[in-house]
């Protein structure tokens, strides 16, 4: 298999996969090392970046995926055969933000931060596959711990959690200033 054929095969594989596909998986399928696969993908990504194209390859959730270019969104919205989800409510986004930055976290802890009950945003987020139960906290009642999913990364077009936007000193997994376990 020469360079051009390998690139064609990778193009087909990234296209056919319904989920983002990782360099590692691609390497195993085409039987090439990850570095070579990475370089081939770079070339493909570059080719699709051309302004005359309607689709592009993006790196998301630990893999590569074809998506349409954002500048054509208005036309795609007219296409009936594309399912679309309603955007998340402000309440759900706040709950999701807390879970993404403070995972693993219990519902009671989220409620302390937001100052409201979060049952309904948690069920929305679970339902949409953006968060999941990732264990139980030791202690009374062994409450469920929530964390973000791969679907979360895909939804926001993030490569990994480190790509989350940073606000002031509000950084990933930072200790909380108040004792949430009280009360």
């Amino acid at each position: 298999m020469n360079w051009s054929q390998a690139k064609a095969v990778l193009e087909a594989l990234v296209f056919a996969s319904s989920e983002p596909v990782s360099v590692k998986e691609l390497g195993m399928i085409v039987e090439l090392n990850e570095e070579t696969v990475g370089r081939l993908l770079d070339e493909l990504v570059h080719e699709y970046n051309d302004r005359g194209r309607g689709i592009q390859i993006t790196e998301v959730a630990g893999g590569y995926q074809f998506v349409t270019k954002p500048e054509h969104a208005e036309y795609l919205e007219k296409l009936k055969k594309v399912p679309r989800q309603a955007p998340l409510s402000q309440a759900a986004l706040e709950t999701l933000a807390i879970i993404a930055y403070r995972q693993p976290i219990t519902r009671a802890e989220i409620e302390t931060i937001r100052g409201v009950r979060v049952d309904s945003s948690i069920s929305t987020l679970l339902e949409r596959g953006l968060i999941e139960e990732i264990g139980r906290k030791e202690g009374p009642g062994r409450p469920i711990l929530y964390g973000s999913t791969k679907g979360f990364l895909k939804y926001f077009g993030l490569k990994d959690l480190d790509e989350l936007p940073i606000v002031d000193d509000w950084i990933l997994n930072q200790q909380l200033p108040i004792d949430l376990t009280a009360d």
Partner: protein, 256 residues
């Protein structure tokens, strides 16, 4: 409640007149930001009054939300009361440390919540931006003509499906009772008669059919007690051909 001339659709009116607050902290932050107050030195009396005034104009869609706001109102009033109390004289040290300020915890919570809001806004921007890129949908392998559902790709087994349903039913039973749905008014005697009638029609009845269609735990228990009573009275026997196999109820054929 303010009234507005119905010039717009009803939804628009709501948006104009009632800013939606995602909880008491959200409202508090709004009051502080609107008045351009230093968050570390909240004039608690004014803010409490404004908070209460807002509370009276708000309409709550659910009671939990109302309770969350009332809880904050109570907290504010408590802080207000503590602020009005004369400070103990003992506190002479210069670092009349902030921990002693009754507002301290509230300020910490507000600062934390403020950051949550900022992060949520940034996520929303990303959501908007990324939702402009559409992935391919539909069958994963269009050229190979493999239906999406037939792919050997999923780790879910039939057993997972059954478990999901069973767990759901279990969780449903207490909920149905709580919701006050009409439940079967069975006495043990009624249920015993029913079992005997059933056995008059057919020589054997499956254990599971006894409980089919029962939606409350109470009805299930009643049926079960009825069965136990019949066994005790030697009216019926139960058989099971293997451990965990289907249990079958039959008429007592022995000596009466």
């Amino acid at each position: 409640m303010q009234k507005v001339e119905p010039t717009m659709g009803e939804h628009d009116q709501y948006q104009v007149n009632l800013p939606v607050f995602n909880g008491p902290l959200d409202l508090l932050l709004h009051l502080i930001e609107r008045a351009e107050i230093d968050i570390y030195n909240i004039p608690i009396v004014e803010v409490t009054d404004q908070f209460l005034a807002y509370l009276q104009t708000m309409e709550f869609l659910d009671l939990h939300m109302a309770a969350d706001f009332l809880l904050m109102a109570a907290t504010l009033m408590q802080i207000k009361a503590r602020m009005l109390l004369p400070r103990p004289v003992v506190e002479t040290e210069v670092e009349a440390d902030e921990e002693d300020d009754p507002r301290f915890e509230l300020v910490e919570r507000l600062l934390e919540y403020k950051k949550v809001k900022e992060v949520a806004n940034k996520l929303q921007d990303r959501e908007q931006e990324f939702s402009k890129s559409f992935p391919r949908v539909g069958g994963a392998f269009p050229d190979l003509e493999v239906a999406a559902a037939a792919e050997p790709v999923n780790r879910v087994t039939l057993w997972d499906l059954v478990q999901a349903f069973s767990a759901l039913l279990e969780s449903l039973i207490p909920r149905v009772e709580l919701d006050g749905m009409p439940e079967e008014q069975y006495s043990i005697q009624d249920k015993m008669d029913e079992i005997i009638d059933g056995l008059a029609q057919a020589p054997k009845v499956k254990f599971s059919t006894l409980f089919a269609g029962l939606s409350s735990r109470k009805a299930v228990v009643t049926s079960f007690l009825a069965l136990l009573e019949l066994i005790r009275m030697h009216k019926v026997v139960v058989e099971q051909d293997r451990t965990f196999g289907e249990i079958v109820i039959a008429r007592w054929e022995g000596k009466t």
